[in-house]
């Protein structure tokens, strides 16, 4: 496969993975409540995740270890276990939200309550993992995820003011409901900087057999893919800023978000929204389930791999099976997927330093990355943004929970 094709595929994967239920919910909320003001949060999150994704690919290519594998080796079982526990808790919540997103997409189109769709959707997700190969998931679902470009089209159609967008790029303090502002900002960071994304990416690099010659490809994929993903997320924010903000619509249910595309694009926009929600959440659900399986298997030494038949990686398979089953059953209860999403995104931001600091140590350890270690820019950017996200979350989450 030529390097160019590899880059293209990697980019498509990244775009599809970036815009999932978390990104849609947080940016729609942000645009609706604060207009263009929170674009800086999307930008910051995108920059940070671009660094992290590039780093995870580089680690895999040079050390031939995935992040989790290297974590246990370098820091021992205690640190590994702590990250595993926090991973599992958050991944479960986010997976539940993604299943919720898919179920809602089906509800939008059929009128049948999302609670009825939770188990069929879970079954479908499981089947794709059971029967599919890594290539199918990476390429198939992600290519379908390009439907998310509809948000970019909608944003263009609405002709937003470039001056206002430019203002939003600079961080600003809220003039109205500061607590809500920071809670949304934290959610945006958590949605963009999702650990499961780069754990998945590093496992993918191993499954695709990357080595040092792939470092250039890796960098291109990370920058273009994440950059484009960030652009899509910003498009959602822009559309919400232009359509919901002036009307005072602040979505507390996903169903309302469908109006964002039906306004500029009519009936086709409505169906494309449902399709985007379904496909992007499916992609994210697959990545989340796999990332959790990888987390267990790579730290505990099990046989693993999506290209391996289930019976040859039974414990690996058992993890995602149990996870999907548990979460689907949970969503039958009718928990509001939008609220679950916002909370889980904020929690993701809260534990960022726990995820990024050990990772950064690995990326500066010549035993693992040889002479391909981090420069001071990547180190500084990731540290600064993780700490910022976490501190904000520490303050915003409890106050939002108590007030909301």
């Amino acid at each position: 496969m030529s390097k160019l094709v590899q880059i293209a595929l990697g980019v498509f994967t990244s775009i599809g993975g970036f815009l999932e239920v978390g990104a849609i919910a947080t940016t729609a909320q942000a645009g609706a409540a604060y207009g263009f003001q929170l674009i800086w949060a999307v930008l910051l999150g995108t920059i940070c995740v671009t660094f992290l994704v590039e780093m995870s690919g580089r680690l895999a290519a040079v050390s031939r270890h995935t992040i989790k594998d290297a974590l246990r080796e370098r820091f021992g079982p205690r640190i590994y276990m702590i990250t595993l526990v926090s991973d599992v808790i958050i991944n479960l919540m986010v997976l539940a939200a993604e299943i919720g997103g898919m179920s809602l997409a089906l509800q939008l189109v059929t009128g049948i309550s999302f609670r009825w769709w939770a188990i069929p959707v879970g079954l479908l997700t499981w089947l794709v993992l059971w029967k599919g190969s890594f290539g199918l998931i990476e390429k198939g679902v992600s290519l379908l995820g390009m439907v998310a470009l509809v948000f970019l089209v909608a944003a263009f159609r609405l002709k937003p003011s470039l001056a206002e967008i430019g203002q939003g790029v600079l961080p600003s303090l809220p003039t109205d409901r500061p607590l809500h502002y920071w809670f949304i900002a934290v959610g945006i960071l958590g949605a963009a900087i999702s650990p499961y994304l780069f754990y998945f990416y590093s496992s993918g690099a191993i499954e695709d057999d990357w080595d040092e010659s792939h470092i250039g490809v890796n960098r291109a994929v990370a920058v273009i893919g994440m950059g484009f993903g960030g652009l899509l997320a910003t498009s959602v924010l822009i559309v919400a800023a232009m359509l919901f903000h002036p009307l005072g619509i602040e979505p507390d249910r996903f169903e309302q978000v469908a109006l964002l595309l039906s306004e500029p694009l009519g009936r086709l926009g409505f169906y494309l929204f449902a399709a985007t929600l379904f496909i992007c959440c499916l992609g994210a659900a697959l990545e989340l389930a796999l990332a959790t399986s990888y987390s267990f298997a790579q730290g505990l030494g099990w046989n693993w791999g999506e290209n391996v038949r289930p019976r040859n990686a039974s414990r690996f398979t058992l993890v995602y099976t149990v996870m999907i089953a548990a979460v689907s059953i949970m969503m039958v209860s009718g928990i509001n997927p939008l609220e679950l999403t916002l909370l889980s995104m904020a929690l993701t931001a809260l534990v960022l330093p726990l995820v990024t600091f050990p990772f950064l140590i690995l990326m500066n350890d010549p035993d693992y990355v040889g002479d391909q270690g981090n420069g001071w820019i990547s180190n500084t950017a990731v540290i600064a943004i993780s700490v910022l996200g976490s501190l904000l979350a520490l303050v915003a989450i409890p106050l939002q929970l108590m007030g909301g």
Partner: protein, 116 residues
């Protein structure tokens, strides 16, 4: 040899490339007048739980009572079987002879689902 850095928590791989487990423990042979020597590596059992905290080990033992393969003891691989130490630790063993929990999950759960 720095046991902590080079052996412990490394990935054990069999002669065909199949993962066996992580090295959770090491058996040292103490010799009079000579430095101790690595006699064997250990994987599995409740060793990992014990390294985290004795209470965690008690908890995992209670959880897995009545489940899984007959023996919950760690797998012991003599040092003489180690063929290469690099990215991982290769041993001259066939994984299918020793993967007790993996096979139990395969036979009792995963293997029973169609299409495995």
């Amino acid at each position: 040899m720095d046991i902590g850095r080079e052996i412990l928590d490394q990935q054990l791989v069999d002669r065909t490339g199949v993962n066996i487990g992580k090295i959770d423990g090491v058996v040292l042979e103490l010799r009079d007048g000579l430095p101790p020597r690595v006699a064997a590596v250990l994987t599995g059992g409740h060793l990992l739980a014990r390294r985290l905290h004795p209470r965690i080990e008690a908890w995992t033992r209670r959880l897995t009572r009545g489940w899984g393969p007959r023996s919950h003891d760690p797998l012991r691989i003599p040092w003489s079987k180690v063929t290469k130490i690099g990215v991982d630790v290769r041993v001259d063993v066939d994984a299918h002879d020793v993967l007790s929990w993996e096979h139990w999950v395969r036979d009792r759960i995963i293997g029973r689902i169609p299409g495995a």
